[in-house]
């Protein structure tokens, strides 16, 4: 993250905005400071699903600089359900900081029957997307522009496992408002090309 741990953690305090960093989430209603109603749109290749439901901030631990979000909902066709349990932790890295996250995605109904093959990859993308959205937000809130993608993501190699740490590239495409595998990976790829030619992204 393009800012120190304390500063970055500071950015995390605007819970509603952070909740909006959940990939594809749109907060439609604020119930209280920790509970929101909203929609989550997932797009995986040709598939696209919209879930109506609740986003809850289940944990804010300033000491550990850890935030935990839970999103839960039923899709608009009424045949699937999904829940995402996403944890974000800020780690000190001198004048910068790392966002370390894990996400658990569980599906119900048809999505569970047909999505098993891809759920862990989806969880992984949600995590990257969250990081990307968050980094973009940190940058937007006055931190330095984030540096290019790190090796883990930038090499264009397949994504890491569902619970891996995931520093993320900042790119307007990447900060899209939905979980969009193609957009995200394409952005990653572009950053990788830029990295190859020694330029840093605008």
């Amino acid at each position: 993250m393009p800012a120190g741990a304390e500063a970055t953690w500071g950015f995390l305090q605007d819970v509603e905005a952070v909740a909006q960093c959940m990939p594809g989430a749109t907060i439609t209603e604020r119930i209280d400071e920790r509970h929101f109603k909203g929609t989550v749109t997932m797009r995986i290749g040709p598939a696209s699903m919209s879930f109506r439901g609740d986003v809850e901030v289940t944990q804010i631990d300033s000491g550990a600089r850890t935030l935990r979000l839970l999103g839960k909902g039923t899709d608009t066709t009424g045949t699937s359900g999904a829940s995402m349990d996403l944890t974000a932790r800020i780690e000190d890295a001198g004048d910068a900081s790392n966002l370390v996250g894990t996400s658990q995605v569980s599906m119900s109904g048809k999505a569970a029957a047909f999505g098993a093959r891809v759920v862990s990859s989806v969880a992984d993308q949600i995590l990257k997307q969250f990081a990307a959205n968050f980094a973009a937000r940190v940058a937007a809130l006055g931190g330095k522009p984030p540096s290019g993608a790190s090796a883990a993501v930038g090499s264009g190699e397949p994504a890491a496992g569902a619970s891996a740490a995931a520093p993320a590239p900042a790119s307007q495409r990447a900060a899209s408002r939905e979980l969009n595998g193609l957009a995200l990976m394409w952005a990653v790829f572009k950053d990788w090309l830029r990295a190859l030619f020694g330029k840093s992204p605008a």
Partner: protein, 801 residues
């Protein structure tokens, strides 16, 4: 001599019992002119689509129909509250429970029926179903039946929380359905206590689905002016369905007509009454027009008629020579969210107590505990009589376990324990009387055919090289033909069956029966029985089933009961007609009945063969005035047959497999199946039934399972995951037979369609386990997928090169 040649020619013309007559049914099927339920189109017919729950256990906070009603083409949306005024929100099950037709306040399993959208066609109905908004509150889920009766287990069925009994005996927990026992527990425990050898194994019959190629469905048509309800449906038991529909709708049975039509396979899946049928009937009554409801494949596998899910424990006590002294089998039965399995009232665990198998076991005890879980309801008999596959699987697996423990060859230990030919009729420790059998010759014939000794030598050589080869034996005894009304009834109705025969002046015949063919070829084989009995060509004998307005009452086709029960009714109905014909013949020939003898198709005067009357002649005369004084015209009869006992087909199978220990792949090298189903009516059809049954056994043993995750999510409900083998995966079958007629059946027949399924499954498992036997493995649960077999290899440390 020419005389006998002439007789044989006349016999051949009849195409009666014992010949491989080509099927009457085929003519329409090969032209694509079958009449399955989805082919039916009635004027003004609307289409219904089901809205189902994505959650396994949840409270329904609200259902909003408005968006759905706004979808073009949508006529109505039904929910539980709409069914309550007509008392149809809940329906009775064949297991003595009630089941929600549409979810009432909560859903108890994933894909449960929540709302029914009625629209102009299936496209509009699908759009409408998507637009119904249901707000759920998820509840904790029970998937593992072993946890169902925990103290803190969530209560699945609040609606019956205060009921002390469901189907059978007292309940001890809100998620407990029943506990059923048979045999002598004390005596059995005593034998086990001092037996020199005992073996115990936990053996799972996993949840599977019969998955016929045609899903379930119906077209319900209620006529307001006449008050007549006609339902075309995929039912294996139309008459029972009519009775149930009458009971729950209040419409007189005489005003209800159930029509079976052609059925694209049943295998047990099409015996129960499903919410889709009931809600379609309500919808037709409400709208006044015909309603069609057809299950999708996903809905079929997810919600209607699963089988098995028996978590068993098998124990045998024996002497050091491997002679079994006692048997103790128990099972925990997962019945899902509603107790809608199909069982005779007095037999909540079906015929599970046939578990002594082909063996002379003096003392035995068995017990089944059934529980509710957040899974689809059911527990049907998948190509078997209820719980017979579970029972036979246990005994055929356990005798192998005993063989390994005692170091006795798996064929030899069977020889030592078989019920001997001279012991028949043999009464088992559980009280079943095996009508007839001849087990030793069947086994020897099979072993010789496959060169069993040679196979064992090859196996030894392979083992020395670290290769895995398995030889499986199954010497099963089936129990089919439910059944005697004194033991078997459903909702109080005895499981007799019926046949009505009408002979016309020209000698053509219509016979109607209470059964319902789903591919078994009844129109062909019943005609063969009647042809032989009456001496009239089967070509002239028309068989009709499945239309409750035409056919006499019967319990339908399941549990291989058609030949044992309805087939017997056909023979006996024909004999009534033959007796009357004999009187007419005696009258015409002016001799006493005792002076007549029957020959193929005619009555001849003893010692004066030129004096004879053919059946054809008698048919005509019976409709004239030239019959004995006081006799009624016509040659008609009806028989309602209550069998004195069930029938007990048996077989001896051998399966040979090769296992790739690096991938877990199993190749079935050979499968030899010898079946004895008593008198054989049509060998061609028998062989076809055995091919099919073995293929379904292969599917169950090697790949079929209905998997759930810990949240009750169904993880294999399309044909992408659910294993239906293609021509590539399916092994080649070798078939053989012996004939040991049933002493109590009019023609000695026993029924065959289920033997290969029931006997085949343990044969595959025994072969797979045998491949690992030398490494100390005594049991591996089905299905034997590459993944699971590899896990076994890994546990043994032989999975790497």
């Amino acid at each position: 001599m020419p005389d006998s040649v002439e007789i044989r020619e006349r016999e051949a013309k009849l195409q009666g019992m014992g010949c491989s007559r080509k099927r009457k049914e085929d003519a329409r099927f090969i032209r694509g002119q079958g009449s399955y339920v989805d082919d039916i189109k009635l004027p003004g017919m609307l289409f219904g689509a089901m809205v189902r729950s994505p959650y396994a256990h949840a409270r329904i906070k609200s259902i909003n129909k408005q968006k759905a009603l706004a979808v073009p083409g949508v006529v109505a949306v039904l929910v539980a509250d709409d069914l309550k005024p007509v008392n149809l929100a809940w329906m009775p099950t064949l297991g003595g429970d009630v089941q929600a037709v549409l979810a009432d306040q909560k859903v108890c399993f994933q894909y449960q029926e929540v709302a029914f959208v009625i629209a102009s066609d299936r496209y509009a109905a699908a759009d409408g179903a998507e637009a119904v908004e249901v707000d759920y509150e998820e509840l904790p889920v029970i998937v593992d039946p072993h946890k169902a009766m925990d103290k803190d287990a969530p209560i699945i069925r609040e609606d019956i929380a205060d009921k002390t009994e469901v189907g059978h005996g007292p309940r001890t927990h809100p998620n407990h359905i029943f506990t059923w026992e048979a045999g002598d527990k004390a005596a059995t425990d005593a034998v086990f206590a001092k037996a020199p050898v005992t073996v115990r194994e936990e053996i799972l019959n996993p949840r599977v689905h019969p998955c016929p190629l045609e899903t379930c469905g119906c077209v319900a048509s209620f006529s307001k002016p006449t008050g007549q309800l006609t339902v075309y449906m995929t039912s294996q038991a139309p008459h029972l369905v009519r009775t149930v529909v009458s009971m729950l709708s209040g419409i007189a049975e005489s005003k209800i007509r159930i029509v079976g039509g052609d059925i694209g396979g049943g295998f047990g899946n099409k015996v129960p009454v499903y919410p889709g049928y009931v809600v379609s009937i309500v919808a037709s009554i409400v709208t006044g027009v015909p309603i069609k409801w057809i299950e999708s494949r996903i809905d079929n596998i997810s919600t209607t008629g699963f089988a098995r899910d028996y978590h068993g424990v098998g124990e045998l006590a024996a002497d050091k020579d491997g002679r079994i002294k006692a048997l103790r089998f128990t099972a925990l039965a997962d019945h899902g969210a509603f107790n809608s399995h199909v069982s005779a009232t007095k037999l909540p665990a079906g015929l599970f107590s046939i578990c002594t198998g082909s063996y002379d076991i003096p003392t035995a005890y068995c017990r089944v505990d059934a529980v509710y879980t957040n899974k689809a309801p059911g527990g049907v008999a998948y190509r078997c009589s209820l719980r017979v596959t579970e029972a036979v699987y246990l005994i055929e697996r356990m005798i192998d376990v005993l063989a390994q423990k005692t170091g006795i060859d798996k064929a030899e230990i069977r020889r030592r324990n078989f019920v001997k030919a001279e012991q028949f009729p043999y009464t088992t420790a559980f009280g079943w009387t095996l009508d007839s059998g001849n087990y030793h010759p069947a086994l020897e014939r099979t072993l010789k055919a496959v060169d069993y000794e040679g196979l064992r030598r090859e196996q030894a050589a392979k083992r020395a090289k670290g290769e895995l080869m398995g030889i499986g034996i199954s010497t099963f005894t089936e129990i089919v033909g439910a059944g005697p009304t004194k033991v078997c009834d459903i909702l109080g109705i005895g499981l007799f069956d019926s046949c009505e025969i009408r002979v016309h002046p020209t000698g053509s015949v219509i016979a109607r029966l209470g059964t319902m063919s789903q591919g078994q070829g009844h129109a062909t084989t019943y005609a063969q029985i009647i042809a032989t009995e009456l001496g009239l060509p089967s070509e002239d004998i028309q068989i009709e089933e499945g239309d409750t307005d035409k056919a006499p009452y019967g319990a339908g086709t399941w549990g291989s009961r058609s030949t044992p029960v309805a087939g017997a009714a056909a023979a006996r109905a024909a004999r009534k007609i033959k007796d009357k014909a004999r009187k007419i013949a005696a009258h015409l020939l002016e001799v006493g009945e005792g002076d007549l003898e029957w020959e193929v198709d005619r009555f001849k005067v003893k010692g004066n063969p030129s004096e004879a009357k053919t059946m054809k002649e008698i048919c005509m005369v019976s409709h004239t005035g030239n019959i004995p004084a006081g006799m009624e015209q016509g040659l008609n009869s009806v028989e309602y047959y209550d069998p004195p006992n069930l029938t007990f087909p048996f077989g001896a199978y051998v399966c040979v497999v090769d296992v790739d220990r690096f991938t877990g792949e199993i190749k079935v090298r050979r499968f030899y199946a010898l079946d004895d189903c008593g008198t054989r009516i049509n060998p061609m059809i028998i062989e076809g039934q055995i091919h099919g049954g073995l293929t379904e056994a292969f599917a169950v043993a090697m790949g079929q399972a209905v998997p759930f995750d810990e949240n009750g999510n169904h993880l294999g409900n399309s044909l992408m995951d659910y294993f239906l083998p293609t021509a590539v995966e399916t092994p080649k079958w070798e078939t053989d037979f012996t004939v040991t007629p049933s002493p109590h059946h009019p023609i000695g027949a026993k029924g065959v369609a289920e033997s290969p399924h029931v006997g085949g499954i343990p044969c595959f498992s025994n072969a797979v386990v045998d491949a690992f036997a030398h490494l100390g493995v005594t049991h591996m649960d089905m299905p034997h997928t590459s993944f699971r077999v590899w896990q076994q290899c890994k546990a043994l440390g032989i999975h790497e090169r």
